[in-house]
Structures are given as structure tokens and as C-alpha cells.
Symmetry: none
Subunit: 204 residues, 2 copies
Amino acid sequence: MSEINVLVVEDDPLIAEDIRHHLTNADYSAQTVVHNKADALAALATESPDIVLLDINLGGKLDGFEVAEAINAHYHLPFLYLTSYSTKSIVEQAKFTRPMGYILKPFDEADLFSSIEIALYNFAQRQKPAKLTRELINEQILDKLTEKEFELLEHIFDGLTNKLMSERHFVSINTIKTHLKSIYGKLNVHSRTEAIAKIRVLLP
Amino acid sequence: MSEINVLVVEDDPLIAEDIRHHLTNADYSAQTVVHNKADALAALATESPDIVLLDINLGGKLDGFEVAEAINAHYHLPFLYLTSYSTKSIVEQAKFTRPMGYILKPFDEADLFSSIEIALYNFAQRQKPAKLTRELINEQILDKLTEKEFELLEHIFDGLTNKLMSERHFVSINTIKTHLKSIYGKLNVHSRTEAIAKIRVLLP
DNA sequence: CGATGCCTCACCCAAATGGGTGATTTTTTT
DNA sequence: AAAAAAATCACCCATTTGGGTGAGGCATCG
């Protein structure tokens, strides 16, 4: 993941600036910082962030929960609570809004980054289908395919045509076809769709 | 879910005891707590746990990864990493070991239970090959496709040819082709493999 | 009743795909 | 250095697939 767009909802200007500073230092390509619920809702609609860092306590009120509910209702986003409270009641209330985690104040840069990374990873794990990677495939079949063949299998998985594959690999379409024939033989199938179906059931 | 056997691999005796305490309070029927890699490997072989909670940092060394590799290589088990903020950017390393998730320290009982439950659920889910069902698909696309079209999309997903589909549905191959054209138009794709790729990314 | 949507089917044509054979070059392994 | 494996490419041919057009039957809905 190259560009991460972070929406920070934090009423305390010092903390907000601190977070913005840390994120800017790293390769997080964009951050939007807002200080209240209204701006947060607006930013959600316009900025399409990848993750939201959400202070529960916004200007003395627990508006963070309402932002969380808006996220759950209308978007499809992981969010982390920024909180200095660890009281039972807050946690009880917070967990019904299904955050990906909590960042407890005070926190340092490592806290921030690891929390974001883990949240994004866990969220992706829950939301996304298995991505075809070499590590994920059954080893017996893995062993049979060459590096090149596996790349082409990934392309098939992504819906590419032979022509597109040949252009992407700077080889002739005949070469692609030869590779595919080899793949089909090794997987014991007779078409690209069968190949996809076959490796799909081998995915964990 | 009746009896869950949890293997806890945690070198910090305080945290280990804390986890054991939480698990005992709930109806988790068995826990085995070990403090180092050697004992973890022994416990894996003898205790047949249902899930492993794995501290990455065991006695100052990242032995947790090696335990994870052992699990992946020789067992068939979900595991969760127990990790703290101080461990910097472990995700890059950790994700290649394919954990079911992470439990961030400090965590409370609710974190612990929900993480375990979610991990067990997701692990069970992913053992089954992805089944294309109507409920799983994005509703916008769902709405566009007719019942028949969706059935044929499932067949494409399973790698069937037009001929096989026509035989299975007792209609002519021309009818199948007409349906497919309609599907492609609605999904805005130009081939069956593209259609598969498209619906695949819409699956949860 | 007319409109609409769905399922059915046919015909045509172009493009893509699958299968077979054989070959050269490069890389890796032994 | 020799052998094996991998990657490259070119034919040929049959089949499959995709795209366009048109059309009949059937049900539902306004």
C-alpha cells in the first residue's frame, strides 16, 4: 500500500498538530485534520480516507461515538479511537461501535504507526478476499509452477487476456500461450476459468 | 462452540497469568500456558489446541515468528499475535507468517474474547472454498442481475464452459451466450475471467 | 391492454483460446 | 562441460468465446 489517507478527528490542537507532524514525517501521503463532529462528517464525505483516527471526546462531549456510528452506517472504513480514558463505561460504550483498536494517550510515533498498520491489516484481512500470492498457495502445486508461470497465473486471476499479458511481459502472444498450456497441464485443467476455480479452492 | 483449547505462548509471567485468569473466568475449557519456544513446540505436539495466542517477543528474541512458522508448516491452526506498541513495525515481518490477527497490549477481556472468536470464525470460514452466494455480493450489482444470470455467474465462478452450462440448464448454448452477454454488460466487463475478477473483489 | 422485463433461441462474424508439434536461446543444475 | 530446466517463438488447427441483431413466448405491472 503506497498512499495512505488518514483522517484525524481531534479537538485538542496540540495533539492534533502532533499527530499531523508524525504522519507528515512518515510516508503517509495525506492527512486531513478536523476538530469537531461536523467537519469530520464533511471530511468523510469528501476526502475518502483509508482510516480514521477518532478522538472520543470532542469539545467536552462524546461526539466521537456519533462519528463512529456515521462511519459504520455510511462508509466502509477502519477507525481507531484516540483516548485517554480507559474507564469501563467508555470502553463498554466504545466497543459497540466496533473500532479496530485504541490508541491510548500519551502515545509516541511508534504507537501511532504500528496501530495504523495493524488496524489496516486486520481490517483488510476481514474485508478483502484472499489475494493470490505465492505464499498462500498449496505447496504441492506451488512447487510445480515456475516463477513465470505463477506470474501469469496471477494475471489470469486478475482477468487479463493473453494479449495484455504479452504486452506486459514484452513477449509474443505465442509465448504466453505456451506458458498457459504448461500451466494447464500442471494444474490438470483445460481453461483459464478452470484454473481460477482450482486455485481458488486451494486458497486458505 | 463447546470446548476451546487455547495455547498461550507468553514469556511475561504477569501477562501470561492475566490471560490465563481471563480465560478461566470464561467458559474456555482449557488453556495451556508456556513461556518459551521449546515449550510451545512441545505443547503444539501434545495439547492439540484450537488456537494459539503468540507473543512475538519471547525473552528478548523474536522466537514467536519461529513458532508461527512451525504452526504453519506442521499444524492447521489459527494463531493471534500478542504484541505491544513498543515493537516497531512488526507487521511487515509478521504478515508473512499469516496470523489471523493481532491483539494489542494492553488489552482487556473483551478484546481477548472477541479477537479469539473472530479468529476462530474467520479461520473456519476460510477453510471452506469461497462459495459465491447472493448474500455475499455487493447489492448494487446484485440488483442488476436476474436470478438466472446470477446462477450462470456462479457457474462461471466454478469454471464451467458454456456447453456444460447449457446441458445443466437444459437450454441451448445460444441462450447461455445471450445471458452471458447480458451479464457482461451489467458488470461492465468483456470476458468471463474479468467477470470473476470483478466479483471476487466484491466478496467480503 | 400495452409496456416492460425475463427467458428463450437463431444466425453471423470476429476474436480469443486451447492443443499439438517443433525449435532456439538462456539459465540453472549437476 | 554436459545435462536439465526454463523461457522464448512459430506454425497449424479446432473449439470456444464475445459481440451484434432479431425475434417469439410468457409473466407481471400499471
